[in-house]
């Protein structure tokens, strides 16, 4: 037998198909098709977890997606451990391992339950009040303890080894929910020939038909009809039926995210199967048939294991053949619980009493109860329960007071009515409307091409739901251009349920201090909500955040309406005036795996590699990430650390020469008769007079006058410029140029083309640079007379075309060899073959940084930060004085940008030449002033310079250029560094070496 509580002949599972699983180390037997919850209940296990805050013992509340309590860890192996899985959704498979959460050391004996005794300090808002001061204690003491003791589940210790799939799907009609309404709509839409997707979160279609025992549709039992209809639909070419598939998010323009659980229910999934499949659906029409969710009753100690929704008990009985107890009590404000009681009684389960807080239950119920021999107490309420790890009794009192009766029960089922599932409608930006007659929020006008049908639309009667769904299915198809086709479906036997209540029940009212839970997952009681109102929270959004009601992973599917009603009562206002909080995606939790999907590793963050990358790797380069680029950082030789390697590289470049991979520089080809005029507008410099074959350093501003980018620009021909940008700046500079060209200066005849990856660039820098490249270059006179500093030539190198620039970012004479990227590696090999015998080295970005800092060359984004003008950076010389216009010209005229007291870029020399400042460190005039000190600037670049034999730094300092030679201080946590303001040029101050 697969559990003592399985009733022979009840449910739809096959007794012969047994599977074994473990829960907290115990081995249990289940039936194929069981959920973890039904399997545990079959085995008499009601204690399934501990609550989040008070660590109270909890059992299962529901039987579906709304479950707040029974959250488990499901483990396949070390890398596949999923926390917070709802036991009501997880199907059991052979060999499954489940563990309970929120308990230490064991579920039955939990140390954290002392929180229950300390509950006065854990009242609503305790996070905000109790632990606010002192701040340090929050970080070091309170938070780690709270997080450790609370927390939901344990994250897996290693990377996820599963894979996930992602698909796009387009359809005429997407139907969410496969109950009687969804199936009817799908049948009707499919008949017109429209392309239809029907999805349901359950393992099989049918929705409430899986447990509504009295319903028949088209002459057969409701569930059989649903199974047939699903099979019929799945066989059609124009229909895709997706089970175990949750529509979790409804976004703009009928874009709906579905996640399909492909293998979570399989014992031994094939390795090529994705664990989950993300469907990104764009539907022309959406039909929501998402049903409704039953609410619990809010009364004292309503959270003991064994107390659950009446619909859940009915599902466990009619779908899984499991009796949730042997002596069942019923507490209800609604007719639906009667049907559960009747089904249980007919299956042989003892129903101790139906306690109905109403005086007048729905028609016929009392007589049926009498026929079945069930005692009904109308006008009574359950005011308390007893039981340690499972409910053992319910205490009943006549409304208005009187003697209390105790009923021994081992399960208590309850219903406060049904809440339409308007989540997806609300996510579609639809506004819900309060229906006073039935006391519930219903979908209002649809802002998208969408319709709600059936229970989620407040349509209660079976045939009305079917008719509404058929009409919506046909209308959706017609709106997609299909011809209408008629569909007729007839349903009967559904109860016409009345009643329902929202808020706290008798014995849990405003004058009481009992624990009557509203939100089980976040341990929020009716008292907490009243406290929030007393503390001044008058908006439901504030109440929600103060109490955390509805903020757990179940998003308050069972608790929102109760919380709202209690707040409304405390505020003495009507429910619609207090308002409903907004529903947000996801409807139920979605794994990171599904969302991230293929976007992991290199597909999440692609690595960009230059044509020389392999060579650099072979020659021992250490790489650094610069944006997505992998750049050679330094090339340590045997026995060298970074410092030693960089010192050697820096010395070698200035003594002989060095090769550097400059391929990552952004490059833009600016071409057209108006190219020079365009650059005149984009850069501060003047370009019209630049002769073909010459280069110029350009500064680009934003309209506000601040430096946006810089780089060397070569004029290749009258109508052609080779523009370089910073490594990280290439895309935004091109975007910026395109913007002006397309929208502000469209009269200019210019074309812009990104050529960053078309050119491989080898910088050869140092006194021997010319000697190195000369044997390889054809057709270019390399003499300084013919090709001086800042010139550019086209010719050939190693037999391939080149744009050869004589430029320098080191202060040494040097070249940048641009060759088509595919020729890069061969040319590099040839250049290196020349360079190595001459004592040259290959150097990385760190040496490049040091060498440029020795010369005071700035790096935009390091020495500037978006608030630095050319004047601030000491680059005022690069602004053409006679141009009538360029981007940033007016910004530079702003009073604040021309005023004294701006931070200016200067050099800093530490008094102790061996001390290297930290980049970002602050500069003050008087280190002995009280904290907070007046900060005058900060260090932007700082290095050890082997060539200067001392540390060097650049900094932005208030009025820095007027403070040459003055002493300032850089306070550090444990000492203060004395510095002197200097020029930014530390090496070769006359700048003669570039001409060598």
């Amino acid at each position: 037998m697969s559990g003592a509580n399985r009733i022979a002949g009840a449910g739809r599972l096959t007794p012969a198909k047994k599977v074994r699983f473990s829960f907290d180390g115990e081995i249990y037997t289940a039936l194929e098709g069981d959920t973890l919850a039904s399997a545990l209940l079959a085995n008499g296990v009601h204690l399934m977890g501990r609550s989040f805050k008070y660590h109270r013992p909890r059992g299962v509340l529901g039987a579906g997606a709304e479950e707040p309590n029974a959250l488990m860890g499901i483990e396949r192996d070390a890398s596949r451990q999923q926390p917070n899985v709802r036991a009501t959704v997880q199907e059991v498979f052979e060999g499954m391992t489940a563990v309970s959460q929120n308990r230490w050391p064991s579920l039955a004996f939990d140390v954290g339950s002392v929180n229950n005794l300390l509950s006065p300090i854990f009242a609503a808002g305790f996070y905000y009040k109790t632990f606010m001061w002192p701040k340090i204690a929050w970080e070091k003491l309170y938070e780690p303890i709270i997080r450790g003791a609370a927390g939901l589940g344990v994250a897996p210790a290693s990377a996820d080894t599963d894979h996930y799939s992602s698909r796009y799907l387009h359809a005429d009609v997407l139907i969410v929910g496969g109950g009687v309404s969804g199936l009817s709509a799908a049948l009707a839409a499919a008949k017109t020939g429209a392309s239809v997707i029907l999805c349901d979160e359950q393992a099989q279609m049918g929705g409430a038909l899986s447990y509504e025992s009295g319903v028949s549709v088209d002459g057969v039992s409701g569930f059989d009809w649903a199974s047939n209809a699903a099979a019929q639909l799945a066989a059609l070419d124009n229909v895709r039926v997706l089970t175990r598939t949750t529509a979790f998010g409804y976004y703009a323009q009928n874009f709906v995210g579905l996640v399909e659980r492909v293998t979570d229910h399989l014992a031994d999934p094939r390795a090529d199967m994705p664990r989950e499949r993300l469907w990104q659906v764009r539907a022309r029409q959406v039909i929501l048939a998402t049903g409704s969710i039953e609410r619990h009753m809010v009364f004292a100690n309503n959270d003991r294991p064994g107390i659950m929704l009446s619909s859940a008990a009915r599902i466990y009985l009619n779908q899984y053949g499991v009796a949730v107890g042997t002596k069942v009590g019923v507490y209800t404000a609604n007719d639906s619980a009667y049907e559960t009681a009747f089904d249980l009684k007919r299956a042989g389960v003892s129903v101790e009493a139906i306690v109905d807080c109403r005086d007048n239950p729905g028609e016929g119920l009392l007589s049926t109860a009498a026929d079945l021999g069930i005692q009904v107490l109308t006008g009574h309420s359950v005011v308390d329960t007893k039981g340690a790890r499972r409910v053992s009794s319910m205490i009943v009192e006549r409304n208005g007071g009187g003697a209390r009766q105790t009923f021994a029960v081992d399960a208590l089922i309850m219903s406060a009515g049904w809440t339409p599932s308007v989540h997806l409608y609300s996510q579609s930006r639809g506004k819900v409307v309060w229906d006073d007659g039935t006391q519930r929020f219903l979908p209002g006008e649809c802002p998208q091409d969408c319709a709600s049908v059936g229970a989620c639309n407040g349509t209660d009667a079976l045939q009305a739901s079917i008719d509404e769904a058929i009409a919506a299915g046909v209308q959706a198809a017609v709106d997609c251009g299909k011809k209408p086709a008629s569909t007729v479906i007839t349903g009967e036997g559904a109860g016409d349920w009345t009643g329902g209540m929202a808020g706290s029940a008798a014995g849990a009212g405003a004058d009481t201090t009992v624990k009557a839970f509203v939100d089980f997952q976040n341990d929020v009681t009716a008292k907490d909500i009243r406290l929030a109102v007393r503390e001044g929270m008058h908006s439901i959004e504030h109440v929600k955040r103060f109490t955390t009601n509805g903020m757990a992973s179940d998003q308050g599917k069972t608790s929102n309406i109760h919380g709202l009603a209690i707040a409304a009562e405390a505020l003495n206002r009507e429910i619609p005036q207090v308002g409903l909080t907004t529903f947000r995606a996801p409807y139920t939790p979605v794994t990171f795996g599904s969302i991230v999907n293929h976007g992991r590793g290199g597909l999440f963050d692609p690595a960009r590699k230059t044509p020389f990358h392999d060579w650099e790797e072979r020659h021992g380069a250490v790489f650094e990430d610069v944006g997505q680029w992998k750049r050679a950082w330094y090339y340590p030789r045997v026995g060298e650390d970074m410092h030693a390697a960089v010192n050697r590289e820096c010395r070698t470049v200035r003594e002989s020469a060095g090769l550097f991979d400059a391929s990552t520089l952004g490059k833009i080809e600016v071409v057209g008769p108006d190219a020079a005029q365009f650059l005149d507008l984009m850069y501060t410099n003047g370009w019209s007079k630049l002769k073909p074959g010459r280069c110029k350093y350009g500064i680009m501003l934003r309209e506000d006058g601040f430096i946006y980018d810089d780089g060397v620009v070569a004029r290749i021909a009258e109508d052609r410029f080779h523009v370089t940008t910073t490594t990280g700046g290439a895309p935004r500079v091109l975007h910026h140029m395109e913007d002006y060209l397309q929208t502000e200066f469209p009269h200019l005849n210019v074309w812009l083309t990104s050529s960053s990856e078309q050119w491989a660039v080898i910088a050869v820098q140092g006194p021997k640079a010319r000697e190195i490249i000369a044997p390889l270059v054809e057709g270019i006179d390399l003499s300084s007379e013919a090709m001086p500093h800042m010139s550019a030539r086209e010719g050939r190198i190693c037999g391939v075309p080149t744009r050869l620039f004589r430029v320098s970012f080191t202060g040494e004479a040097g070249y940048e060899i641009n060759v088509p990227a595919n020729y890069g590696p061969a040319v590099w090999d040839a250049v290196w073959a020349q360079a190595e015998p001459l004592g040259a080295c290959v150097y990385g970005t760190e040496t490049m940084h040091v060498l440029r800092a020795e010369k005071g060359f700035i790096i935009v984004g390091q020495d500037t930060d978006g608030t630095v003008t050319p004047h601030d950076a000491g680059l005022g010389w690069a602004i053409a004085k006679s141009k009538p216009d360029y981007v940033g010209i007016r910004g530079l005229m702003r009073p604040d940008l021309m005023a004294d007291g701006r931070k200016q870029l200067i050099g800093l020399k530490t008094k102790d030449p061996n001390t290297v400042l930290e980049e970002g460190a602050q500069i003050v005039a008087d280190p002995n002033q009280p904290v907070p000190m007046t900060m005058l600037g900060h260090v932007t670049s700082s290095y050890w310079s082997q060539n200067c034999g001392r540390s060097i730094a650049m900094a932005l300092l208030v009025d820095g250029r007027a403070k040459m030679g003055q002493t300032f201080y850089v306070p550090m946590p444990d000492h203060t560094i004395e510095v002197e303001v200097s020029s930014t040029v530390f090496f070769d101050e006359k700048g003669e070496r570039v001409n060598g």
Binding site: Q253, R282, R429, D704, E738, D885, M893, P895
Partner: protein, 104 residues
């Protein structure tokens, strides 16, 4: 994910291909060096950010590369229309405009 109609490609394409580019119909003054600080502030710093109908620029970054204008309702996220850069503001259906923003 929004679908956006590129008026140059004349196709509806996914949002991922596009990049938002700020408020539309703010022309750079041709006499920019002559404008006052107040005018510069209006031109460069101040934006309407209306609730409701907004005129904005988009670029079909990973498509044709063109900048174009769009009318979008910032409450519903719905695009009313898109049109080529340089075109005047389109006439909108009555009642489709909010008080601020659109009339300027």
């Amino acid at each position: 994910m929004l679908l956006i109609h590129c008026p140059y490609c004349n196709e509806e394409r996914p949002e991922l291909e596009f990049r938002h580019a700020g408020e539309a119909h703010i022309a750079r003054p041709t006499n920019i060096t002559a404008i006052s600080d107040e005018e510069f502030t209006q031109f460069f710093f101040l934006r309407d950010n209306p609730k409701g109908i907004a005129f904005e620029r988009w670029r079909h970054m990973h498509g044709c590369g063109r900048f174009f204008n769009a009318v979008r309702d910032t409450v519903t996220d719905k695009f009313v229309t898109t049109y080529e850069a340089g075109q005047p503001r389109p006439d909108l259906p009555a009642g489709g405009e909010n008080e601020k923003g659109a009339g300027k």
